[in-house]
Amino acid sequence: MLHDELSHFAQAIVHGHMPSPRIRQAYADYSAETALGVYRNNYRGNLHDALAGAYPVIKQLVGDDFFRFLARQYIEQHPSRSANLHHFGLELAGFIATFEPAKELVYLPDVAALEWACHVAYFADDGDVLDLNALAQVPPERYPDLVLHTHPSCHVVRSHYPIAAIWHAHQPGASEDFHIDLDGGPGYALVSRKDDIVQVSELTEAEAVWLQGIQAGARLGDATVTTLEHYPDFDLQATLLKLVAQNTLANFNLEKTP
């Protein structure tokens, strides 16, 4: 009984069905339709606001009206599955890629993927801090066997477009007078969190390839050799310093020599 009643009510909110006749129809100052309107509005409004909170750059890029239109279509196709609104919006990048009205903004899905990575990084668990004293104890001949772990917030987003530059141009305090050329070649955006601030920086292709290897669990020696095969200019020292400065490396372990 309870199940049927609530299921009916949910259908009325989500799919606009007629409410169950068990819902009281007359109230002193308004109709049942008005009351349902409040619930339907809450449903879509809360999801819209959650999406806007996770995707502030997309919202600025397309404007409030278009974002509302996009959000509404997204909610229809990807309804909420979690009682925590911070989980809502996971599939937006994929959705935008198939969303006709936005197809001319070719970079939009990648910017959405970057924003979701930032959103997840904000809530990601704390990782270990790289223990330099322990690292100093490792004999140099064992360096190739180091397996570096990245911070849980660390994520690389790859794009054909300069998405890190687009992201930076839309942060609070950034100049409104910007111009971005999409033909600047592929971009690799590194997302990390340091001192509670989510940061986005750009990686070179070599750095991105190396980091992907590291994230896949490759040993330092193997990842570096593989990267150098394709990118002879790869600078390991500069890369490590950059990643540590961004709190991207968490801890390490030593793998047995094969």
Binding site: R40, V62, L85, P101, E104, Y107, T224, L236
Partner: protein, 87 residues
């Protein structure tokens, strides 16, 4: 051999930074304060939504007038090449 030298230099650089790293503790306080400036508002709350005019409407009415404003009008016009000619 070349690889070993490179790894030794790279990790050595990291360790050298670590020894000097305590100097950056002074900067840390500023970062910690900065983070509140960008504290992201949590989206879970127990109030009813206020955006009455923007989000109401039944899901069954898909072909509503919203379709007429389905053109992006934001900062995307500052991104060259972003607006490709329609096929």
């Amino acid at each position: 051999m070349e690889k070993q030298k490179m790894l030794t230099l790279a990790i050595g650089g990291l360790l050298a930074l670590g020894l000097a790293g305590t100097a950056s503790a002074a900067d840390k306080k500023m970062d910690m304060e900065q983070c509140f400036g960008i504290a992201k508002a949590g989206k879970n709350d127990c109030s009813s939504n206020k955006s009455a005019h923007s989000c109401a409407g039944q899901a069954t009415k898909n072909n509503d007038p919203m379709d007429f404003v389905a053109v992006p009008k934001g900062t995307c016009d500052k991104i060259a090449g972003g607006m490709l000619k329609a096929m």
